[in-house]
C-alpha cells in the first residue's frame, strides 16, 4: 500500500578517517512517531542531515515518501527543526514565517492563514511583530517549530526539539507531536531525553557508533513485565525450585526474591502458588523495564564512547 516515510539502505558517512555513520538501514512508516536514540556523538544528527540533504552520504541510498533523497518536490512536504536553532534574527516572527512559507512555495493566502494559526498554536501571537533577536531560547524553539509545520508536512524531522526548554515548552512540543500523529504525520525525533521518547514515540531505534543496534516497539515494551520483586518469608527450597515454571532467572537475597517473568498474567498464578507453598507473602512488586535500562543494556555503560 503506502510507501515508507523513510527508507534507508546502508547509508554511510565518513569524515576524514572517522565513520560518523557506519551503515544506516532503517524503515519508518508513514504516520509513525519514530525516535532516534543514542548517546552524544553516535551519529544521530549526521544521519538526519543526510536524509535532509545537508550532508552528502559517502555511500548508500535513501528515500523519503517514496522519492529519492534530495528530490525538490518532496521537500515541499517535509518539515525540519534543526538542533541549536539559529534563525534570521533580524526578521520579526511573522516575517520569518512568511519567508519560510514563500520558500516552500506556499500559496500566499493559505500562508497568511496558516501563519496566524501556527503563531497562535505555539503561543507567540502577541509577539508576531517582534524581531527574533529579542526572543528567548524557548520562544525561538517555538517559532522554529511553527516554521517546521507551515506546509502541513507529511514528514517532520525534529532534532532535539526540547533541548533548553522549560517544562511548559516541553509539554507544548509533546502535545504538538501527539497532534501531528493524530493527523497522520510521520515524526522523526532525534533525542537523548529518554523520558521524552518514552511518552511520544511508537518505535525507537538505538544507534551506537553510527549503526542501528536495536529497534523496539514501545507499545509492547509497556506490557512486557520483565522484573518482579517478591518479599516473602518461609520459602522452602522446593517452593523456590517450583518457581522455575515461570522464570529461568531467580535470585534470592534475605527473603527478597527477584525474578524475571514474561507476562503480567503470570502474577496471580505465582501468588497462588507461593501461598499454597505456605510462604508468607508481604509484597509482589512488578517493575516495568524502563527505556533507560534498555538504553544502558543496548549502548553499554560507557555510553558508546
Amino acid at each position: 500500500m503506502s510507501v515508507a516515510a523513510i527508507e534507508t539502505e546502508q547509508l554511510r558517512k565518513v569524515f576524514g578517517d572517522r565513520a560518523a555513520v557506519k551503515g544506516l538501514t532503517l524503515q519508518v512508516e508513514q504516520g509513525e512517531v519514530f525516535g532516534f536514540l543514542g548517546p552524544n556523538g553516535a551519529g544521530k544528527t549526521t544521519s538526519m542531515k543526510m536524509l535532509l540533504g545537508l550532508v552528502a552520504p559517502t555511500s548508500g541510498t535513501a528515500s523519503l515518501l517514496g522519492a529519492p533523497m534530495g528530490d525538490l518536490a518532496t521537500r515541499a512536504q517535509i518539515g525540519f527543526l534543526p538542533e541549536h536553532f539559529r534563525f534570521q534574527d533580524w526578521l520579526t516572527a511573522r516575517e520569518f514565517l512568511l519567508l519560510h512559507g514563500e520558500l516552500l512555495g506556499m500559496d500566499s493566502r493559505d500562508l497568511q492563514i496558516r501563519l496566524e494559526e501556527l503563531l497562535e498554536r505555539v503561543g507567540l501571537s502577541a509577539f508576531r511583530n517582534k524581531q527574533l533577536r529579542t526572543f528567548s531560547k524557548g520562544m525561538l524553539q517555538r517559532i522554529g517549530l511553527a516554521q517546521a509545520l507551515l506546509n502541513r508536512p507529511r514528514l517532520v524531522f525534529l532534532d532535539e526539539p526540547t533541548s533548553g526548554l522549560d517544562p511548559v515548552g516541553r509539554r507544548l512540543v509533546r502535545d504538538i507531536i501527539h497532534e501531528l500523529k493524530g493527523q497522520g504525520t510521520c515524526v522523526f525525533l532525534n533525542s537523548h531525553l529518554l523520558s521524552e521518547i518514552e511518552v511520544t514515540c511508537d518505535r525507537v531505534a538505538f544507534i551506537r557508533h553510527g549503526e542501528v543496534v536495536r529497534v523496539i516497539e514501545l507499545a509492547t515494551l509497556d506490557q512486557n513485565l520483565s522484573l518482579v520483586t517478591i518479599r516473602a518469608a518461609g520459602l522452602t527450597s522446593e517452593a523456590l525450585a517450583g518457581l522455575a515454571k515461570w522464570s529461568q532467572n531467580i535470585q534470592t537475597n534475605n527473603g527478597l526474591l527477584t525474578m524475571t517473568v514474561q507476562k503480567e498474567s503470570d502474577l496471580p498464578e505465582i501468588t497462588r502458588y507461593l501461598v499454597a507453598q505456605q510462604a508468607e507473602v508481604y509484597a509482589i512488586t512488578p517493575n516495568r523495564i524502563s527505556l533507560e535500562e534498555i538504553f544502558i543494556q543496548t549502548v553499554g555503560e560507557d555510553g558508546g564512547l
Binding site: 542531515k49 535532509l52 540533504g53 545537508l54 550532508v55 552528502a56 525538490l72 518536490a73 521537500r75 515541499a76 517535509i78 525540519f80 534543526p82 538542533e83 541549536h84 536553532f85 539559529r86 534563525f87 534570521q88 534574527d89 533580524w90 526578521l91 519567508l99 519560510h100 514563500e102 520558500l103 516552500l104 512555495g105 524581531q131 522554529g144 516554521q147
Partner: protein, 283 residues
C-alpha cells in the same frame, strides 16, 4: 527564478535591518559633504593661482582642476566600494553556515545555487545603490560647483561598479568554502596584489620598462580589480591630462578592452566556483 528573487529580497532586507545600509548612508553623506567643501576650497584657490580670473587659460585650468579632484574623489569611492563588496560577501555564507541559520533555508524546495545567486543579486543591488549615491553624488557636486562633467562618465562609473561587483563575487566564492575572516584576508590580499601590480605597471610605463609592464599585466591577470579602476580613470580623464601622461589618480598604462572582458570572465568564474563549492559542501 522566483526563489532567487525571494532570497535576493531577504538579503536586501537583512542589509537594511542590520544597519549596513544606514551606516553606509551616513558615512556616504559625510564623504560627499567633505568632498564638496574640499572641492570648493581647492577649486577656488587653485583656479586663482594657476589662472587668474580673466585670463584665457581660466576655463582650461578650471576644468583640469575639477577633473583632477573628481578623479581623486572617485578613487576613494572605488576603494570604499571594494571594501563594501568584500565585507558584504565575506560573512554571508560562512556566517550562516556557522550559525546554522542556513539549514532551514537549504532544506526547502530550492536548489543551493538559488541561495548563492539570490545573495549575489541582493548584494549587486546594494552595491549598485551605494555606487549611485557615492559616484553620482560626487559627480553631481563637481557639476553643480564647477559645471564640470567627466568624459565617458557612464563607462567610467560602470567600471567602478564592476570593480566592486568583482570583489564582492570573489568574496562570496571564498565565503562558500572558508570562514569569514579567512575570506576577508584573501580578498584584501588579492586587492593589494592588484594595487601593487598596477603601480609597477604604471611606473614601468613611465620609465619605458617593458619587464615592469609585463609584471603588472601578469598581476592584473591574477587580480584584475585595480586594472578596472585604471581603465575607469582613463575613460574619465581629460584629453589634456592624457596627453601630459596623467596624474597619480589616472592611468599611464591603460588596460585594454580585453582586460575588461577578462575581468568579467573572472567574475563569472568566481560566481561559478561559489555555486559549485556551496552545492557540494556538507553543512
Amino acid at each position: 527564478m522566483s526563489k532567487i528573487w525571494i532570497l535576493a529580497r531577504m538579503t536586501f532586507r537583512e542589509a537594511i535591518r542590520r544597519r549596513i545600509v544606514l551606516t553606509g548612508l551616513i558615512l556616504g553623506v559625510l564623504f560627499l559633504l567633505i568632498f564638496s567643501i574640499g572641492f570648493r576650497l581647492i577649486f577656488a584657490a587653485m583656479g586663482e593661482e594657476v589662472a587668474p580670473t580673466g585670463s584665457a587659460l581660466t576655463n582650461i585650468a578650471r576644468s583640469e582642476t575639477s577633473g583632477f579632484l573628481l578623479l581623486a574623489g572617485l578613487y576613494a569611492i572605488a576603494f570604499l566600494s571594494v571594501a563594501m563588496g568584500a565585507l558584504l560577501g565575506a560573512d554571508t555564507l560562512a556566517g550562516e553556515i556557522n550559525s546554522g541559520s542556513i539549514q532551514t533555508i537549504i532544506t526547502k524546495p530550492l536548489r543551493r545555487s538559488d541561495v548563492v545567486l539570490g545573495k549575489w543579486l541582493g548584494f549587486a543591488g546594494l552595491l549598485g545603490l551605494y555606487s549611485l549615491l557615492m559616484s553620482g553624488g560626487t559627480v553631481l557636486s563637481t557639476f553643480l560647483q564647477a559645471g564640470y562633467l567627466p568624459r565617458h562618465m557612464l563607462a567610467g562609473l560602470s567600471l567602478i561598479y564592476l570593480e566592486a561587483l568583482l570583489v564582492m563575487t570573489i568574496s562570496l566564492a571564498g565565503s562558500s568554502a572558508m570562514p569569514a575572516l579567512a575570506t576577508g584576508g584573501m580578498v584584501f590580499g588579492l586587492y593589494g596584489l592588484g594595487f601593487l601590480g598596477g603601480w609597477i605597471e604604471q611606473i614601468g610605463a613611465l620609465l619605458n620598462n617593458p619587464t615592469a609592464i609585463k609584471i603588472g599585466i601578469v598581476t592584473s591577470l591574477i587580480s584584475p580589480t585595480e586594472a578596472l579602476w585604471r581603465r575607469a580613470a582613463f575613460e574619465m580623464q581629460s584629453p589634456l591630462t592624457a596627453a601630459m601622461g596623467g596624474t597619480p589618480f589616472s592611468a599611464f598604462s591603460v588596460p585594454s578592452t580585453l582586460m575588461i572582458l577578462y575581468a568579467i570572465l573572472y567574475l563569472l568564474i568566481a560566481l561559478t566556483i561559489a555555486v559549485s563549492t556551496f552545492q557540494h559542501r556538507d553543512i
